[in-house]
């Protein structure tokens, strides 16, 4: 498979096929990050698309890390901005999800068992949820997540541990396990 950075360079030079390929490879990851943070599936899709536009205009001075993690960084920051605008960004609260309303992440998944897991993820405290989505959807390293979120590396590791532990415990409670 051709390296993402090379394909992106082609896209930036105006190659539409390369642009479509970059979009196809990374859109699902981005929309899962943004939907779980921005409050609605529509906003998630809008922010994911906008992230690609911002990528085109970004001044990239190094190619360390992956294109996916750079896109995840852009998407995360745009989603935080949107969440703050909607006053959803409150680190002291868990996500405002009611039993009646399927969360944006739930709306993205198709299987019933996945829907249960999506609900569990959406109900995680925000600081755990953002680390989990950046790690598992954005494929970011812990060091990258520390840079993106501005928290110490040890805290990132602690948050991913509690996030996954909570998800596994909730799945067991509901009788869903591997």
């Amino acid at each position: 498979m051709i390296d993402d950075w090379r394909i992106f360079a082609l896209a930036r030079a105006g190659d539409e096929k390369a642009w479509r390929e970059i979009f196809r490879r990374h859109y699902p990851a981005l929309v899962r990050i943004t939907s779980s943070m921005a409050g609605s599936l529509e906003a998630g899709h809008d922010i994911a698309q906008e992230s690609f536009v911002r990528l085109l205009g970004a001044r990239i001075e190094h190619h360390e890390g992956t294109l996916r993690s750079l896109l995840a960084t852009i998407a995360y920051r745009l989603a935080v901005k949107e969440a703050r605008r909607l006053r959803l960004y409150d680190r002291t609260e868990t996500a405002r999800v009611t039993d009646e309303t399927p969360s944006p992440l739930e709306q993205l998944v198709k299987e019933d068992t996945d829907r249960i897991l999506a609900r569990v993820v959406q109900r995680l405290p925000l600081d755990q949820r953002e680390v989990l989505t950046l790690r598992f959807f954005g494929e970011c390293s812990y060091v990258e997540i520390a840079h993106i979120t501005g928290v110490p590396l040890g805290t990132v590791k602690s948050r991913i541990f509690y996030a996954v532990k909570t998800c596994r415990d909730k799945l067991k409670e509901r009788g869903v396990s591997t």
Binding site: A29, R32, R59, T66, I74, R77, L105, C140, H147, V164
Partner: protein, 133 residues
Amino acid sequence: MTHPDADTLLKHVLETLDEPERSEVAGHLAGCEACRKAETEIRGDIRKLESLGSDVEVPPPPALPRMLERTRVISQWAAVLAAGFLLGYFTSNLTSALPATPVQQRLVPERIVEDTLGFLPCPPVDAAAPASR
């Protein structure tokens, strides 16, 4: 080593353990089938998390030429704003101290381009690519 507890096993799978604990757990797993089974279960749950919603339908991307044009226009406007800012700055300081150094003149427009876009495009990443999984 005795059997690692469930939390330690989870930290091992998440690659958040430090040495020497990481090596101790890895060594134990090599010789303990029961713990390997528990490890496999954890990896299965993590795969579920990683693939959650990954089959989402991908819409058509924004039209590339229009996007390239948009980023070009934003850059041009940023340059115009920066030029206006500099012009105002120098004309208001004609009677004061020496003009800014060439280095300062180069840096100011770049900062404005980034501010116009809303955020820095990418943080410095001083470590290796994502950790091996």
